[in-house]
Amino acid sequence: MIPERFRYHRARSLDEALDLVAQAPGQARILAGGHSLIPLMKLRLAQPQWVIDVEEVAELRGIREEGEVLHIGAMTRYRELMTDPLVARDAPLLALAARRVGDLQVRNRGTVGGALCHADPAADLPAAALASDAELELRSRRGQRRVALGDFLQGPLTTDLKPDEVLVAIHVPRRPGWGVAYQKFPHPASGYAVVGVAAAIAAESGRVARVCLGVTGVGPRAYRAAASEERLVGTGLDPEVLRAASAVVTDGIAVNHDQFASAEYRRHLAATYAERALAAAWAAIQA
C-alpha cells in the first residue's frame, strides 16, 4: 500500500498542465479526484513517474450552456453534477448516475474527467454519459480535438487519450423533457456496477421518438445497446416490445464474468435492468 517513487507537480493553468504532459509523454498521469488513481498507485498497479495535479486549473471547471449543448468542465465533481441546476434541467441522467457512484467521499472528490479517462468498465458515469451522447473536448500542445465518448472508450482502463492530451470538458446535448433513469445492480463489495443501465427516451405523441441506452459493468467497456434501441423507436413501449428489446441488450458483447457473477447471470441481469431502466425512463416522461 505504498506507491513507487514519483514526482508530483501541481499545475496552475491548462497551459502548464499541457506543457508537463508533453514533456513526459507516457510517463505522466493527470491527478483529478484521485479516488481511482491513488489506490492503483498504492497497489503498484499504476507506476507513473509524474503525477500532475490539476486541482487548481480553472479552465477545467464550470458548467455552462453553450447553445444546444451543456459544457461540463472535466474537473466537475460528482457532487456538483448531483446539485447543479443546469444539469438537473438539461442532463439529469448524469445527476442520477452520479448519485449512485461510490460513497460520499468519492462523490465529493471524484470528477467527470477522471471517471471517463480512467474508463473503468464498471463505472457508473460512462453509461450515463454515453446515453447522453457526450462528446469530449481534448487538448494538447498540438491542438484541440473532439471525440464522441463511444469512440473514446476502447477497453478496460483503455481510451483514445493520447499521451500528451488533457481532457478539458465534455459536451452533452441539452435534453429537457426527456425521460431518464439509471438502474444499477451494485457489487456488494466494491459498489461498482455488476450491471448498470442508463436510459434516456424522448417521446412524441405517446411513442418513442428517440432512445439512448448506455450499459456498464457488462462488457470490456461501457457501450450503447444499439440493437435494443432500434427495436424501441416508434413503439409505445408495450411490455412485449420492452422485453424483446431488453433481451438483446448484450448482443455482440463479450460479457464479463467473475467470482460474483457468471456471464450467463450477468447477461440475464443486464436484460432485467435494461427493462427496469427503460420502464422507469418511460414512466418519468408520463409523470
Binding site: M1, R44, H268
Partner: protein
C-alpha cells in the same frame, strides 16, 4: 452514582478514539525507529531454490534482509497452544521464515529492514526468490482425497487431527421414523478488523530487555509464546497493547511477524516497526471457519429429535495456528446439540492441512459452525415432517426447570429459559400476522421469508481445569488488582485485554458500584505485561464473566478490609457495621459512618489500624471460574427475495438475547449489533475464495464483500435476564451472540422464502446468482 450496574453509561474510551487520540501500535513513534516489510510467497506451494537479496541490500537506507536460513537455530518454531487429547495431532514445525518450502500464498520468506517504510517496501520488491512451484491443494475435501499433494511430509493424507466425541449407533438411524441428512459448507472468512496487525519492538542492550508494542487480544499469552520463540526469559520481555482496533479472534494468535520484528530490534539495536497493510492482511492473518459438515438427524413424526450425528472436515490451513486445533473440536464438537435436549449425539472431526492461510478463531470460534448446522437441521426436519419450525424448536428445548442441564457430551449448561426468549421474539414480530402477510404477498409474486435461530453458546472461557482436560496449553482464569490510592482514587489492573469491548467503562461501572466510589475516580488499566500481574486475555466472551468476576472478588476483599478498619474507627463491632452506597454505617446509628474513600486514606496513613490489619488499600484476585457460561436467545430475520435477480433484502431483524445480568445495555446493544452484522455478512456476502492452484482470489475490498450499514434495516433488540448462577456478577457474555445467531437465522429465512421453488438448502454466501440459479433450476455456477 451507586446504582451503576445496568446503566447505559457512554463509553469513556470513545472521546479519545473519535478524535484520533488513541494509542494504537502504529501510533508508537520512537527515536531512531526503522521499518520492516515482509517478503511473502506468491505461490501456494513451492520449493525455494534460492534467495538473492544483494540488490535489496545495496539500496540506500536498507539495513538488513533476514531469511529463513539466517534464523535457523536463532528463533524457535511458532507453536500451537491447543493439543486436544486423543486427536493424534500432527504438530509440524512452523518456522518464522520459510526454509526450503513455502506452503501458502502469504507465507513469509524474508524480512527487509530499512530506514523508512518507502525504502523498505521498494527493497522488498528487489529481493529475488527463485521458486520451483509445486502442486498445491486449497480445498478441504480435495486435500483428503487420494493422491492429494502433501502439505507436510509427516502428516499423511493431510490429516492434522482426528477427534471424536460421543457415539450414536447406526441402529438409531435405521429405526428412526424420520432421518434428515444434509451436507453443509461453512465458507472461509477473513476477519478484517479495522486495524490490521502491527508491531514495534525496542531492545535495551544494557538490560537485555525487549519491549514489544503489538496488536494483541492477550498480551501475557503473547509474552509467554514470544519469549519461547526468541529464547529469552519472560521477565525480559514486555508486551504492550494499548489501543487495539478490533481482533475478532485474529489477534489471539501468535504469528511469526511479531517475533521477527523483535528479533530485528535485538540484532540491529534500533527500534523496528512493522505494520501489516490491508492487502497483506488478506493472506497473512488467520482466517476463520472453513468446514464441510455432514449431518444426520433422527426424529419422530411428532417433532421429537432422537439423535444427531456430525462428521466434519475442518480446513486448518498450512500450519497449526495458536488455538486452531481446539476451535473445530472442543469449541464446536461439544455443543452441536445447541439448546435442544437430544438424547444421543456424536461428533467426528478431521482437521486438515491445506496450502492456505492458517485458520483460527473468528468471532464465535466453533460455536457459529455448530449453531449453524443444528439450526439449519431443525428447519430441514420441520420441513420433512410438515411442522412449523417454531414448534419443533419449542418441543425440543431444554426446559427451564432442567438446569443445570448436562448435554450428551458432558457439558453442563448453567441456566436458561429458552421458551421465554422465543416467546418474546414471536410477540415482537407478531409471528401469526407475519405468516399471513407472507401468504398474501406470495399470491402477488413477492417472496418473503422468515427465519429463526434459537441459539445457546458456551462462553466465558472457562475453568482452568477444563482447559487442561481439553488440551488448551494455558489457564483460563483471570487476574485483577484494585488499587485504592490515599486520595481514594482507584486504579484497576485487569488481565482482560479489551480491543473494542469498552471495558474501561464497564469495569469502572462494576468497581464504582461495588466500592461506592465515583465513576470518574476510577481508571481501568490493561494491555501491558509490566503493569498487569497476569492475564489470559479477551476472547470467547470471557472478559466480563471471568475478568469482571475477578474484579468483583477483589472489590469484595477491599470492602471487607475497610469494614474492619471502619468498625475500629467507629468503635463498633465489625458485624454491627454495614456497607451501603459507599459508606460504612453503624447499624441503627445514622450519624456514625465513614465513607469508603475516607477509610482508604486511614488505611494508607496507618495511624490507627485494628490489630492484624496491614496498611494500604489494595486487593487482587485470581478468579478461576467453576464453569463456562451459556448465553442464549432467539433471533428472527425477515427477508425478501427478488426472483428476477435472486437478490436478498433483509427487511427486519429482531434479536432477543439473554446474557445474564446486564452491566451496560448500551455496550450490549453495540456488541449485539456488530455481531449480527458480521453474522449476516457470512450468510449473504462474505467468503474467501481460493482457486484450485491455491491462489486467493478475493484479495481486497473490491471483491471480498464486507457488510455495510446500508444493507441493514434498523436492528431491533430485546433482552431477557437469566443470571448465571456461578459467578458473582451473574453475567454470561455477549461478544459473540450475533455471529452465532444471525447466520442461520438469515439462511433459514432465505430458504423459507424459496419454498415455492422447493429449494431445500443453499450454501453460503447466498449471493444473488446462487439464489437465482436455485429459483430457475439452473444448477451450480459454472
Amino acid at each position: 452514582m451507586n446504582a451503576l450496574i445496568g446503566q447505559p453509561v457512554r463509553r469513556r474510551e470513545d472521546a479519545r478514539l473519535v478524535v484520533g487520540r488513541g494509542q494504537f501500535t502504529d501510533d508508537v513513534q520512537l527515536p531512531g525507529m526503522v521499518y520492516a516489510v515482509m517478503v511473502r510467497s506468491p505461490h501456494a506451494h513451492a520449493r525455494i531454490r534460492g534467495i538473492d537479496a544483494s540488490r535489496a541490500l545495496g539500496m540506500p537506507g536498507v539495513l538488513a534482509v533476514f531469511t529463513g536460513r539466517d534464523l535457523e537455530g536463532v528463533l524457535g518454531s511458532v507453536p500451537t497452544a491447543w493439543i486436544p487429547p486423543n486427536s493424534d495431532l500432527k504438530q509440524t514445525p512452523h518456522r518464522p521464515l520459510a526454509v526450503d518450502t513455502v506452503r501458502y500464498v502469504g507465507d513469509a520468506v524474508a524480512m527487509v529492514v530499512a530506514e523508512d517504510r518507502y525504502v523498505a517496501r521498494d527493497a522488498a520488491e528487489a529481493v529475488v526468490v527463485d521458486y520451483e512451484p509445486l502442486p498445491a491443494v486449497a480445498d478441504v475435501m480435495a486435500a483428503v482425497a487420494e493422491g492429494a499433494p502433501l502439505v507436510h511430509a509427516d502428516a499423511p493424507g493431510n490429516i492434522a487431527l482426528h477427534w471424536k466425541a460421543g457415539e450414536v449407533p447406526d441402529e438409531v438411524f435405521a429405526r428412526a421414523e424420520v432421518v434428515v441428512r444434509q451436507r453443509f459448507r461453512q465458507q472461509r472468512l477473513i476477519p478484517n478488523p479495522m486495524e490490521p496487525r502491527a508491531a514495534v519492538a525496542q531492545y535495551d542492550s544494557a538490560t537485555g530487555h525487549l519491549t514489544v508494542w503489538m496488536t494483541s487480544q492477550n498480551p501475557h499469552i503473547h509474552r509467554f509464546i514470544l519469549a519461547g520463540i526468541l529464547g529469552i526469559p519472560e521477565h525480559h520481555l514486555r508486551v504492550v497493547a494499548q489501543d487495539v482496533g478490533g481482533g475478532f479472534g485474529s489477534k489471539i494468535s501468535c504469528y511469526p511477524d511479531e517475533a521477527l520484528v523483535a528479533h530485528a530490534a535485538r540484532v540491529l539495536r534500533r527500534p523496528v516497526k512493522w505494520v501489516e497493510d490491508r492487502s497483506e492482511h488478506f493472506t497473512a492473518t488467520t482466517h476463520g471457519r472453513d468446514h464441510v459438515q455432514e449431518v444426520e438427524l433422527a426424529g419422530r413424526r411428532d417433532g421429537t429429535i432422537e439423535a444427531l450425528r456430525v462428521k466434519a472436515w475442518a480446513n486448518l490451513g498450512a500450519y497449526l495456528s495458536t488455538a486452531a486445533p481446539g476451535v473445530p473440536t472442543i469449541l464446536f464438537g461439544l455443543i452441536v446439540n445447541g439448546c435442544y435436549r437430544i438424547p444421543q449425539a456424536s461428533t467426528e472431526v478431521f482437521g486438515v492441512y491445506t496450502h492456505t492461510t492458517p485458520v483460527d478463531a473468528y468471532r464465535g470460534a466453533g460455536r457459529p459452525e455448530a449453531t449453524y448446522l443444528i439450526e439449519r437441521m431443525i428447519d430441514l426436519f420441520a420441513d420433512a415432517i410438515g411442522m412449523d419450525p417454531v414448534e419443533v424448536r419449542r418441543k425440543n428445548f431444554v426446559p427451564r426447570d432442567q438446569f443445570p442441564y448436562t448435554n450428551p457430551f458432558g457439558i453442563t449448561y448453567d441456566s436458561g429459559d429458552y421458551e421465554r426468549a422465543l416467546q418474546r421474539a414471536l410477540e415482537r414480530i407478531d409471528y401469526a400476522a407475519l405468516r399471513r402477510e407472507q401468504a398474501a404477498l406470495r399470491a402477488q409474486g413477492r417472496y418473503l421469508g422468515i427465519g429463526f435461530s434459537t441459539y445457546v453458546e458456551m462462553c466465558g472461557l472457562g475453568p482452568s481445569e477444563v482447559a487442561g482436560a481439553v488440551g488448551f496449553q494455558g489457564g483460563l482464569w483471570e487476574h485483577a488488582t484494585v488499587r485504592v490510592h490515599p486520595s481514594g482514587k482507584v486504579q484497576v489492573f485487569t488481565g482482560a485485554s479489551p480491543h473494542g469491548q469498552g471495558e474501561e467503562t464497564t469495569f469502572a461501572q462494576i468497581v464504582a458500584e461495588k466500592l461506592g466510589v465515583p465513576f470518574e475516580d476510577i481508571e481501568v488499566v490493561h494491555g501491558d505485561t509490566d503493569r498487569i500481574t497476569m492475564g489470559w486475555g479477551t476472547y470467547g466472551s470471557r472478559s466480563l464473566a471471568v475478568g469482571g468476576s475477578a474484579l468483583a472478588v477483589a472489590c469484595q476483599r477491599l470492602v471487607e478490609k475497610g469494614q474492619r478498619i471502619a468498625a475500629h474507627r467507629l468503635e463498633a463491632a465489625v458485624e454491627d457495621v454495614v456497607f451501603e452506597a459507599g459508606r460504612y454505617q453503624v447499624r441503627g446509628v445514622p450519624d456514625r459512618s465513614l465513607g469508603f474513600q475516607e477509610v482508604a486514606l486511614q488505611a494508607h496513613l496507618a495511624w490507627n489500624l485494628p490489630p492484624g490489619v496491614e496498611p494500604g488499600m489494595e486487593a487482587s484476585s485470581a478468579y478461576n471460574p467453576s464453569n463456562f457460561t451459556f448465553p442464549f436467545g432467539t433471533h428472527v430475520a425477515v427477508v425478501e427475495v427478488d426472483p428476477a435477480t435472486g437478490a436478498v433484502e433483509l427487511k427486519r431483524y429482531v434479536a432477543v438475547d439473554d446474557c445474564g445480568t446486564p452491566i451496560n445495555p448500551l455496550i450490549i446493544a453495540g456488541q449485539v449489533h456488530g455481531g449480527i452484522v458480521q453474522g449476516v455478512g457470512q450468510a449473504l456476502w462474505e467468503g474467501a475464495v481460493y482457486g484450485e492452484d491455491g491462489q486467493l482470489l478475493t484479495t481486497s475490498f473490491l471483491d471480498y464483500a464486507m457488510p455495510k450499514a446500508r444493507f441493514f434495516p434498523p436492528i431491533e433488540t430485546e433482552a431477557t435476564v437469566t443470571p448465571s448462577p456461578h459467578n458473582p456478577l451473574g453475567v454470561k457474555g455477549v461478544g459473540e451472540t450475533g455471529t452465532i445467531a444471525a447466520t442461520p437465522a438469515v439462511v433459514n429465512a432465505v430458504i423459507d422464502a424459496l419454498k415455492p421453488w422447493n429449494v431445500r438448502h443453499l450454501d453460503m454466501p447466498l449471493t444473488p446468482e446462487r439464489v437465482w440459479r436455485a429459483i430457475h433450476g439452473k444448477g451450480a455456477q459454472g
